[in-house]
């Protein structure tokens, strides 16, 4: 990943290849990172594929905005994360709307499946935790991995992002600082709060199951 963050795509663009060939090389180099980051952020295979390809399309359209010294991946990552977060917000709004308009009985059954001990009224007034994260995205599933995956789905965007970059893309703190356009200290602090929140959610869920 280190080389990915350092790679100067403008040089590749200006290397004498046709724009199509140059961009094809860029896409093939970064498609797996783009797909898996999107998958980690939105938790759904089809959406991840769609969003990562849309991010490449937008990067192609606005390639002139990347200055000659700019590194492609951190710049591209901003496009990708904005698309994913905006997608999650829309999905949350749609979900809230469906919950508000669903008959009370339907809400109750959905709650029973997702939050132990919660009643339907609390869900109507609060958005449903998570953004429809699908545990099927995790390879080699078991009960505890499904639980962790659902807990990641309940983290807010900023915290989910650092968990995905660190755990699913193996990025170092310096690489994360580059793609997030922040310093190492911010990365460390975000990771601390993300893990602490993850721990709280898992403890809460465990407590609920034991009751």
């Amino acid at each position: 990943m280190g080389s990915v963050c350092e790679e100067n795509a403008v040089a590749l663009w200006d290397s004498g290849q046709s724009p199509r060939e140059a961009f094809e090389a860029i896409v093939k180099r970064h498609m797996k990172d783009a797909y898996f980051i999107a998958l980690g952020l939105v938790g759904n295979r089809e959406d991840a594929l769609e969003l990562s390809q849309e991010a490449f399309y937008r990067a192609y359209k606005h390639f002139d905005q990347l200055n000659s010294k700019g590194k492609f991946f951190p710049w591209f990552y901003q496009i990708l994360r904005n698309l994913c977060f905006s997608h999650l917000r829309k999905r949350r709004v749609r979900r809230d709307y469906q919950l508000r308009n669903a008959p009370i009985g339907d809400c109750r059954s959905e709650i029973g499946d997702s939050i132990p001990g919660a009643d339907s009224q609390s869900v109507i007034s609060d958005p449903l935790p998570g953004d429809g994260f699908d545990p099927e995205m995790v390879a080699e599933r078991n009960e505890s991995k499904d639980r962790v995956w659902r807990a990641i789905g309940q983290l807010d965007e900023k915290h989910r992002e650092v968990i995905v970059l660190r755990h699913f893309r193996d990025m170092s703190y310096d690489e994360m600082a580059k793609v997030l356009f922040c310093n190492r200290g911010t990365v460390t602090s975000r990771l601390f709060y993300a893990r602490q929140r993850l721990k709280e959610i898992l403890d809460h869920e465990k407590g609920g199951q034991e009751q």
Partner: protein, 148 residues
């Protein structure tokens, strides 16, 4: 250093991001602080759980077709832009031609011509007004990034 300072180091220690000197200093703190040592154990447990997880690999054909799908998107996007620009230009041209024909047509009554011009004028004012309002509020809306 306070325990809060060490909490920041805790993550770097957990992820093996400290240099040897920092590591030794942090381990010395852990040995003398029960609270931090307990937190550390819990974070280690959590890390073991998350480290054991990997996202499912899609089928190979997803990667084989990835570039083609992306290129189709680029091609269609360019096509839509060209189509939209041409459609707007043609509509404007056709509209002006039609208006010119009607205005120059002696068989069309004066009242109908005045009505047509008023209709076009009204539409133009509405369009400019809405556009100006959008631009004005977009520049000054402090809440435009707030989640709705």
């Amino acid at each position: 250093m306070t325990c809060q300072d060490h909490k920041d180091l805790m993550m770097a220690y957990l992820d093996d991001e400290l240099d040897d000197e920092q590591k030794r200093a942090f381990e010395a703190h852990l040995a003398s602080c029960g609270d931090c040592a307990k937190d550390m154990e819990e974070f280690k447990k959590l890390k073991r759980m998350t480290d054991g997880m990997a996202l499912a690999e899609p089928e190979d054909r997803v990667w084989d077709e990835y570039w083609n799908h992306t290129y189709n998107r680029i091609e269609r996007g360019t096509g839509w832009i060209l189509f939209s620009v041409a459609a707007i230009a043609l509509l404007l041209y056709g509209g002006f031609e039609l208006i010119e024909t009607i205005i120059e047509d002696r068989t069309v009554g004066g009242l109908a011509k005045v009505g047509l011009l008023a209709l076009i004028g009204g539409l133009a004012i509405l369009f400019v007004s809405v556009l100006r309002e959008r631009i004005y509020f977009w520049g000054r809306d402090r809440y435009k990034d707030v989640r709705r």
